[in-house]
Symmetry: C2
Amino acid sequence: MQKEFIEIKDLYRKKEEYVGKTVNVAGWIRLSRASKNFGFIELNDGSFFKNMQIVIAEDKLENFKEISKLPISSSILVEGELVSTEGAKQPVEIHATKVVVEGESDSSYPLQKKRHTLEYLRTIAHLRPRSNTFSAVFRVRSLAAYAIHKFFQDRNFVYAHSPIITGSDCEGAGEMFRITTMDLNNIPKNEEGNIDYSKDFFGKEANLTVSGQLNAEIMALAFRNVYTFGPTFRAENSFTQRHASEFWMIEPEICFADLEDNMELAEDMIKYVINYVMENAPEEMEFFNNFIDKGLLDRLNNVVNSEFKRLTYTDAVKILQESGHEFEYPVNWGDDLQTEHERYLTEQIFKAPVFVTDYPKDIKAFYMRMNEDGKTVRAMDLLVPGVGEIVGGSQREEREEKLLERIEEMGLNKEDYWWYLELRKFGTATHSGFGLGFERIIMYMTGMSNIRDVIPFPRTPKNAEF
Amino acid sequence: MQKEFIEIKDLYRKKEEYVGKTVNVAGWIRLSRASKNFGFIELNDGSFFKNMQIVIAEDKLENFKEISKLPISSSILVEGELVSTEGAKQPVEIHATKVVVEGESDSSYPLQKKRHTLEYLRTIAHLRPRSNTFSAVFRVRSLAAYAIHKFFQDRNFVYAHSPIITGSDCEGAGEMFRITTMDLNNIPKNEEGNIDYSKDFFGKEANLTVSGQLNAEIMALAFRNVYTFGPTFRAENSFTQRHASEFWMIEPEICFADLEDNMELAEDMIKYVINYVMENAPEEMEFFNNFIDKGLLDRLNNVVNSEFKRLTYTDAVKILQESGHEFEYPVNWGDDLQTEHERYLTEQIFKAPVFVTDYPKDIKAFYMRMNEDGKTVRAMDLLVPGVGEIVGGSQREEREEKLLERIEEMGLNKEDYWWYLELRKFGTATHSGFGLGFERIIMYMTGMSNIRDVIPFPRTPKNAEF
């Protein structure tokens, strides 16, 4: 039956093909106003951001009365002529000759015309995708995800699924969730009275991944260029607008490639994704620009058209110190940059996205390549106006003995990294990679300021509804 | 630096562009044989299934001796002329004029020329992607994943990320993993002495998802056509070749669409993915056909070119009963079909993929649409030769009161389904969907018979290595 119902998107995009013809559409009533013998229904079928206006008239429709009184969100099947309406707000409308009720809604439907707060809408996550805002957000999310796949696949990258369940917490990127099938009322203990994880499902402690990078490196050293794109987790009790317990991450890893290649890849990717979304969701982007974030399109066009700047952490610190600007946190070489510093650099100094490179080793991860100076590592963070850090990456330490040194220096257990070290033993190669938090770029592209509003069913402390 | 090194794939595919020119490649030595002053290196750079033959000669290469003795898996950077070799096994080779050692391998490298068992290779999952078999498997996996995205996106489906962490075990599709951040040595208890889950991270019991379907229905009732593609989990202690604890699943959900639309979509999708992989990985597919599964390409071509059959469960039972074939398990109306029954239908009776529809309600899930007969539901399973069931789906029960009846009949708690029921209250619509186990189709397309060999880092009972 689905094919009978033309997508409203097609009626807009291929208007010429259908005007003057009888068409069938199926969708949900977003708005309805009728006088005694005449009325309009704004119908949305989910295929397109915009509604189709359905004109209903008593003399054309035997069940006019019933249809004109249907509550918002009722689903209906409509047959009628597609009529061109040049000059009107919408380019076409349907003059209905037959309307069948598919599912009458209840008048208690909570998404009535009046505006709701985003907080309230989170409590009805099963209905909010029907609102303009979330319809736009989740379509952009879908298109951006596809753009990322297309970008990498067109460049012959291999999509690698890194594991979600990990037997180690080697990455050290954050607090982890424990996974178990043990009976928590009766946890198996060994003779010393300690928990006997050998009795657990995986025979040892198991957690949810915080990063697929180390696994991606395995794949890059076989396939040259790879990327991961999957869910990652943080068991942090943080209630900020920017943190969720479950989010998606993209982690490309490229071989025979240094930090310069890495920055170029990140820049190309960001520009590609933004362009793809602007081209494929113009109505949604216009909506965000008008109703969510006034300067959005200007900002995105600026990013797409600017050359991303590159400077070292040491230079960045110098610029910040010499700026004369009063920061809440002082700027000292050796300390991590705060969001205020990052935003000042990208928004005030450069007015463009900026790569900051070569951070002090002590504030970065063990696997980043040591520079000649023995003090900094080949790390990079990409800072963008309006957000701050959006990408973090590095050239990886490919030298076995240097890597081992860092592992020992940081008090890590080298046995945990046996296979990671072996990658450096059996044909190591210069390689680099970065991580992009998927929700970060969605927030950036939509202007939505809370991560809970760019994930269909967000997970945060004390919240795993739906 | 990466751009200096042309991908070996390009040298094969765009041979004409490069023959006679000096090219640079970077890769790993797969094979090396040399006499005193002359030799060949089979170089693989990960971009392509096939190796590039590098010809090295003492009079052209000042470090000939060093290079000719490099262990397998060493990585090298090669400069030389691309030479056409018509009639030889490979169409081109590189006559090296300069070779730089990037990373010398150790002679203990375990992937030497001799054949290894698949079991052994699983213990070196960090190196097995460098073997022919796994290079082919994981590239096919990547291409198939992309084909799935492309198939749905080209049809205007919205990619919906369903949550990995769920606060309920509503789906009832299988055993679940518990997620917690409680201190297992000191589990918080309430006054009655029961575990106090309100103190846990999410404020209640939380598990890893077994299916994103119910969430996908939310999205379909807003966007018309959606799909999920993400990891799902089963905490089942099963050690079969076909079960893993962590695997990826695709779950499309379509609105204003009945079981016929659903079958058509599944058929189109399966054919599309197979075609895409055969077109984009011809070398890999030939390898599988020659070395893993002799009849593979014939079988896949047969699937792509055949009209999938459709019959009801009741007719299937009749056919099986009348076949005269002796089955291990008897065929009785009301019992689930066993793999032997499924394979007999698709391989012996129809010699083509078969949709079996309208199963007895008692062997199917609560959300499937009840038929007029009150005994069967609008379910479908797709059976394919060589495997049996590969897709399972249904038209969903869109009628609130019927759904409620089934929830109560099956002893489920209707409060757990409040939002799922509300979808039927606020503009319900005919809708359908199915699930495809991603690894199942990879196994099907590669001929690999163990699911552990189509997942880069498989998770199974007692195993979460790498």
